[in-house]
């Protein structure tokens, strides 16, 4: 293990971070938020931002990330990562919010692409153009979830490699990998991001391409439901490492 990732919200409210601090003494930490509701048209939660800023000061993480999504409106929270319409208005809104958060915590944010199960008819941009534009406008970086790229490519019918090739190389600073499930509705199917099983072959292939386009970027396996034995988890992590290393060896 060379670094650890923690959900920021699990250490909010002054919750004792003894374990996190003990890890921090020996390893870099990536703080990964799931509850900021960045894309919402409600005002940013000052309480949430205050907690995040406090945690960033205390832990001094290597990276701080959130999602290209929204989760609440009118004060009601779904506590889910809901898709944005990829419109000029949403881009301006998201850019203003990312800028506000980056200024408040004094750090660059990484923004992660999410899995989605629908697309809005009013979208004017592709997801990858939206994400690349967001980086240009705010100086934020990208947390590229390769599984989410594949899930969306299947669900919405695009080429995952086009997605990868459209992202600015220097912006991608972390990669996520995960397993997903396939839900069948009659003869039709839709892929759901579940983090409850091994990474599938197709996602390993895309990851291999990602390690070529974004060399040296650290990767993380997300497996947070039906968690298997540590051996199985470590084997997945080693597989990710070996794909990246093979590439390195081939290039040398």
């Amino acid at each position: 293990m060379s670094w650890f990732e923690a959900h920021s919200e699990n250490y909010f409210g002054g919750t004792p971070g003894a374990t996190l601090r003990a890890i921090r003494e020996h390893y870099p930490i990536s703080l990964h938020g799931v509850g900021l509701s960045l894309g919402s048209t409600d005002p940013l939660s000052e309480a949430h931002l205050g907690e995040l800023a406090r945690l960033v000061r205390e832990i001094e993480p290597l990276r701080v990330s959130e999602h290209l999504s929204w989760s609440s409106v009118g004060g009601r929270y779904t506590n889910d990562l809901l898709p944005l319409p990829y419109t000029d208005e949403a881009l301006r809104h998201m850019a203003a919010r990312v800028t506000a958060v980056q200024e408040l915590i004094g750090r660059q944010l990484l923004i992660e692409n999410v899995s989605s199960y629908l697309q809005f008819t009013c979208s004017q941009l592709t997801e990858w153009d939206f994400l690349a534009s967001l980086c240009r406008e705010t100086g934020c970086a990208i947390l590229l979830d390769v599984n989410n790229v594949y899930v969306n490519a299947c669900n919405h019918g695009f080429d995952p490699y086009t997605y990868l090739d459209s992202l600015p190389v220097e912006a991608v600073q972390e990669i996520h990998l995960a397993g997903h499930s396939v839900n069948r509705v009659g003869t039709r199917e839709i892929r759901i991001d579940t983090h409850d099983r091994p990474v599938c072959e197709a996602v390993w292939h895309i990851y291999s391409a990602a390690t070529r386009r974004f060399p040296g970027v650290p990767a993380l396996i997300e497996w947070d439901a039906d968690i298997p034995s540590l051996d199985v988890l470590l084997a997945e992590a080693r597989k990710a490492d070996s794909i990246a290393e093979d590439l390195h060896a081939a290039a040398a």
Partner: protein
């Protein structure tokens, strides 16, 4: 073009309130593929249904994590129904799922107060106290030596701040026995007499987790009086009203040994 605010409002109305129609026209129902028939031409209703399912399942799972004893008592199916009803009345109001259970004991009280299951809200209150204890900020506990610096004739004026990792729970039912009998690995066939007496409990955090201490009614009153901001003299009056033989020194030592007190202070003169 649907403004972002309007789109988000309609989306949430579809998820929380089932008002799918205003949102449906703004959702693609399938995609064209060059390589054969479209495999995922789902309707707007079906697509929104995935998010509605995530909403209820995610909420129920988070609630289960915080209230495992309650779930064990009522069963998985009933717990799921309670979680859905609770979510309809008290949707999550923040981005942190650890906080959604705050109103759950009160919600259960409204449902079960007059029923034969009137102990369930108190079990939930105990479980919420455990969660709050675990999630409370780390504050140094009051050291016994801090009291030695105080002149004896000033004791009556002394006030205390309480440690946020200590939580009080009282019940007319023996909730601690119910709680203990439903911990993982506990014997499942224990018979508990609901009339076996009231519980006055202090939940406090240790390095291993949350521990429970059973208090007397007067000791519980002391904790409550100090939390109300009463000085020791006023608090003692309240305790003596319940127990004329109340031993204040012993009770204070107990609270201090459990880390229930944080600071002691005298009014500024």
């Amino acid at each position: 073009m649907l403004p972002l605010r309007e789109l988000q409002s309609r989306f949430c109305a579809a998820l929380f309130d089932g008002h799918v129609e205003p949102m449906a026209p703004w959702i693609h129902t399938g995609h064209d593929t060059s390589s054969g028939p479209c495999t995922n031409a789902l309707s707007a209703q079906e697509r929104l249904g995935i998010y509605r399912n995530n909403l209820t399942e995610g909420f129920a799972k988070a609630l289960e994590l915080g209230f495992p004893v309650l779930q064990r008592l009522v069963g998985k199916e009933c717990f799921g129904q309670l979680a859905r009803a609770f979510q309809r009345e008290y949707p999550s109001r923040c981005g942190d799922l650890n906080r959604i259970g705050a109103d759950f004991p009160g919600f259960l009280h409204g449902r079960f107060e007059t029923s034969e299951y009137a102990y369930l809200p108190d079990v939930a209150a105990l479980e919420w106290a455990c969660q709050q204890s675990l999630l409370a900020p780390e504050i140094p506990a009051l050291e016994p030596s801090a009291l030695r610096a105080i002149p004896a004739d000033a004791y009556g004026e002394l006030r205390f701040s309480l440690n946020p990792s200590c939580r009080r729970v009282r019940s007319v039912f023996p909730v601690l026995r119910i709680w203990m009998a439903n911990q993982p690995g506990a014997a499942t066939d224990e018979h508990i007499d609901l009339g076996a007496g009231a519980d006055f409990l202090l939940a406090h955090r240790t390095p291993e987790g949350v521990e429970m201490t059973r208090l007397s009614a007067a000791e519980f009153e002391l904790l409550e009086a100090l939390e109300d901001g009463e000085n020791l003299s006023q608090a003692l009056d309240r305790c003596r009203a319940l127990d004329s033989a109340f031993d204040l020194g012993r009770a204070l030592r107990l609270l201090i040994s459990r880390g229930a007190l944080a600071t002691a202070y005298l009014p500024a003169t």
